[in-house]
């Protein structure tokens, strides 16, 4: 599923991220690498999605979350 569709409280793993080199560079530098586990802290309409990753709370633009594919992690 897309990260933008991940429900609040879910624990997901990043499967693949698509986008421009700039976008990929940005998400990578902030710690969102393929395989990395995220906890979805908040996912509300018209707000950036808020996840916890590598012990940090990270906000990601909703539109951009469409290009981050995640799968459920246990």
């Amino acid at each position: 599923m897309k990260l933008s569709d991940a429900p609040e409280g879910a624990r997901v793993r990043i499967a693949a991220t698509a986008g421009t080199a700039r976008f990929l560079g940005r998400v990578t530098a902030i710690g969102l690498t393929p395989g990395c586990v995220l906890d979805v802290l908040q996912n509300k309409r018209k707000r950036p999605v808020l996840v916890r990753c590598r012990d940090s709370a990270i906000a990601i633009d909703r539109g951009d979350c469409e290009s981050i594919r995640v799968e459920e992690a246990l």
Binding site: G9, R11, T17, T28, I30, C36, V37, D55, S56
Partner: protein, 741 residues
């Protein structure tokens, strides 16, 4: 591009790289026989890692702030002394990595490429260690002595984390210092580490990182590395260049292209063709290294539960999960605090953010008002002095100059400092506590339409009070382009002083129609902001840089008042020194134009000019009186009513009105509105209202802008834009209104 310093650095680094630690590198550094002069160091770190705090803490008032040559990126340098040595420090612009994808990163890359540095202090946020060490991982492989500074240790401890800096130091091969940058009394370990880095010249041992890369990219890695010069290029090691090439980094490819032969270039192109997902995999390799680096070195209270979950995760999935288990035992989701739910997720979060901004603006006046009162006193003193001088048979012009230019400039400068100090203090506290990032989060969606970030809302709101306040509030916006665009758009917002003038005139001329005038002003304000965004946005914030929001929300923590006070005081001092020049130029120009020795307005240059060019100004909807008031408002908006009062009701000259505007020395005729209504037409009044409202705000705002954005060019462009649009607006309003009235 390369220089002898650079070679020196590369040579020292080569020794460090091969010896991997300590002694060999020390010998290399010593043999380079660097003059025992000033040591050059740089500060590198991600946003929110406390870079500015450390920079302020180390250099204090010995700072110079400007822009990087040819770049719209702020350049901060400073000096300090320690152990009988002079240090010169450059604060490299904050960015999340060294990928050359933003102007900030380009500057940092370019600077590090020059070499010649004695040490780089790499900052990481100890409370989010794994994530914030990415900068270190991206820096590793640049052959320059380094110190890893684990800042915000107090926050990490507050989270129940214990960090074994010594263990990290053993793995890294360079000094690692735990630090609370906000506590300037405990810098000893940092100074020692810095001295050690400069003396021993140890560089980060990239062997483990190289293994992580080689493991991930397999034969491609070997194929790429094989074509690169073994000694690297300048301060860039072979390993670092190989990683950048695999990431598809343009500047690195160019650099390599120039340094290897055609056959090697062809082989590189071939090898690189096969790489996919390059940035992400290189990033994952860096994080894998970071995880190894801090494995077992970060302990967290109440580990047990997290450990169990992490183990489950590692059983479930591959490499990343396993590495997660190594470091992120605390991966048990710590959900948002109740306050954060309110501040970021609820329906109340927007009103809360607006309320907090307005509250902050009000609170900023607590320290600002006493300072501004001092400013007012300077102006009063000037008037007293001028009065005394005129009694002592000294030509009137001397006293007038003293009070009108010298004392008024000091007065405006001091008042501006009041704002700058108050705003920097309050919003510095907001920022340090972590709340500012939440404001950005909540309003990001709305502001991104203008190419701005959520934080831009804050300067906008503050400009309703005072443009200077908004301009100094723009400091929290980390990208220069967005900051400049925010300031430029914010100038269109009518400030508090405007509201002291506009309603008086609107009611006198339009009675019940006055609210319509106010509505019109708001419409024009939005229109003007939109126009600025359209006209200048693409130049200031390049399309490609308008990447959507990807930011961290730093953990809340109690800010240290002393530290924020220190920062605000430093900023105020810098602003005063810069601003006073601009203010003085404006004050002098208007004084010279309005000065009259006869005491009647007819003797002034402005009268001669205003009446001479009245046919022209009338085209813009203003007669010589309203034009005079418009011009005087360039120095100080508050002066407009006083000037109009003097011109229409008799009494004080514009010069006196401007000189005493701050202290209210010139009485504004109570019925100035009615008097004017008899003297000028409604279209002219309306034209003046619009031209006055949307003119360049005031001299102090211009100087605040200049001080804040460090670009004379863009300050002039902004001022010119507003003066021109004010006149055009006046023209349009006058001619349209003439059709109706």
């Amino acid at each position: 591009m390369s220089c002898d310093q650079c070679d020196g650095c590369a040579a020292g680094a080569g020794a460090g790289g091969s010896a991997a630690s300590g002694a060999g590198a020390a010998a290399g550094g010593a043999s380079a026989a660097r003059a025992p002069g000033t040591r050059r160091i740089a500060l590198l770190g991600q946003p929110n890692s406390g870079k500015s705090t450390l920079f302020n803490g180390l250099t204090g008032a010995r700072q110079h702030v400007g822009n990087w040559p040819g770049k719209t990126v702020e350049r901060k340098t400073g000096t300090f002394q320690h152990g009988g040595r002079a240090y010169e420090m450059v604060d490299l612009p904050g960015s999340y990595a060294l990928s050359a994808m933003s102007p900030e990163e380009e500057v940092t890359r370019g600077f590090l490429a020059q070499g010649g540095l004695d040490a780089v202090l790499v900052l990481a946020d100890a409370s989010q260690l794994e994530r914030s060490l990415y900068m270190l991982a991206d820096f590793a492989g640049i052959s320059c002595p380094a110190v890893l500074v684990l800042n915000l240790m107090d926050v990490a401890e507050g989270q129940g984390k214990r960090i074994d800096a010594a263990a990290i130091e053993r793995r890294l091969g360079v000094p690692v210092v735990p630090l609370v940058a906000a506590d300037r009394t405990r810098y000893d370990a940092l100074y020692q580490a810095l001295e050690r880095a400069c003396d021993e010249r140890a560089v980060i041992d990239p062997a483990a990182l190289e293994r992580a890369m080689a493991q991930r990219f397999g034969s491609t890695w070997d194929a790429v590395a094989a074509q690169l010069p073994e000694e690297g290029i300048g301060p860039h090691s072979r390993f670092w260049l190989a990683a950048k090439l695999i990431e598809g980094d343009g500047p690195a490819r160019e650099l390599v292209q120039q340094h290897v032969d055609a056959a090697a270039n062809a082989a590189l192109d071939k090898a690189l063709r096969g790489v996919k997902d390059d940035i992400q995999n290189a990033g994952a390799a860096r994080f894998a290294w970071v995880e190894q680096l801090i494995a077992g070195a970060v302990e967290r209270e109440g580990e047990a539960a997290g450990g169990r979950e992490a183990n489950a995760a590692s059983a479930a999935g591959g490499r990343e999960a396993a590495s997660t288990a190594s470091t992120g035992r605390a991966k048990a989701a710590s959900p948002l605090s109740r306050f954060d739910r309110l501040a970021t997720g609820s329906r109340l979060s927007k009103p809360l953010a607006v309320g907090m901004i307005l509250l902050g603006f009000v609170l900023a006046f607590v320290p600002a008002i006493p300072i501004m009162m001092v400013g007012g006193m300077i102006s009063s003193l000037g008037q007293e002095a001028a009065f005394a001088l005129s009694g002592a048979d000294i030509p009137d012009v001397v006293g007038s100059f003293l009070s009108g230019v010298v004392c008024n400039s000091l007065c405006f400068g001091t008042m501006m400092v009041g704002y700058v100090f108050g705003i920097n203090l309050v919003f510095g506290l907001y920022e340090e506590s972590g709340y500012m990032a939440r404001i950005s989060y909540v309003f990001d969606h709305a502001m991104s339409r203008f190419g701005l970030q959520g934080k831009s809302l804050m300067p906008f709101l503050m400009c309703f009070g005072c443009t200077m306040g908004g301009v100094s509030g723009s400091r929290v916006i980390d990208s220069w382009g967005q900051r400049m665009l925010t300031v430029m758009m914010a100038w269109a917002i009518p400030c508090g002083s405007t509201w002291g003038v506009v309603p008086v005139l609107a009611v006198a001329f339009f009675g019940m129609g006055a609210p319509l005038v106010i509505v019109g002003i708001f419409c024009v304000c939005i229109l003007l902001m939109w126009a600025v965004g359209r006209l200048f946005g693409p130049r200031l914030v390049k399309e490609g840089e308008r990447a959507g929001l990807v930011m961290e929300l730093p953990p809340y923590h109690r800010p240290r008042l002393g530290n924020v006070l220190h920062g605000a005081a430093l900023k105020s001092r810098q602003m005063f020194v810069r601003a006073i020049r601009v203010v003085a130029i404006f004050a002098f120009a208007i004084w010279a134009l309005t000065y009259t020795s006869t005491g009647s307005v007819e003797g002034s240059a402005l009268y001669a000019l205003g009446t001479a060019i009245e046919p022209i100004t009338q085209f813009f909807g203003m007669g010589w009186q309203t034009f005079t008031a418009w011009l005087c408002a360039l120095v100080l908006k508050e002066s407009a009513l006083g000037v109009l009062s003097g011109l229409f009701a008799g009494g004080a000259t514009p010069n006196a009105a401007v000189v005493t505007a701050v202290t209210g020395g010139v009485a504004v005729a109570g019925n100035i509105g009615e008097i004017m209504a008899q003297a000028i037409s409604a279209p002219e009044a309306l034209a003046f209202i619009f031209a006055f409202t949307f003119n360049m705000p005031c001299a102090a705002s211009v100087s605040a802008t200049w001080g804040e954005v460090h670009s004379t060019k863009w300050t002039v462009i902004t001022a010119a834009f507003y003066i021109a649009s004010s006149l055009i607006l006046g023209c349009i309003v006058f001619h349209v209104a003439s059709l109706f009235f």
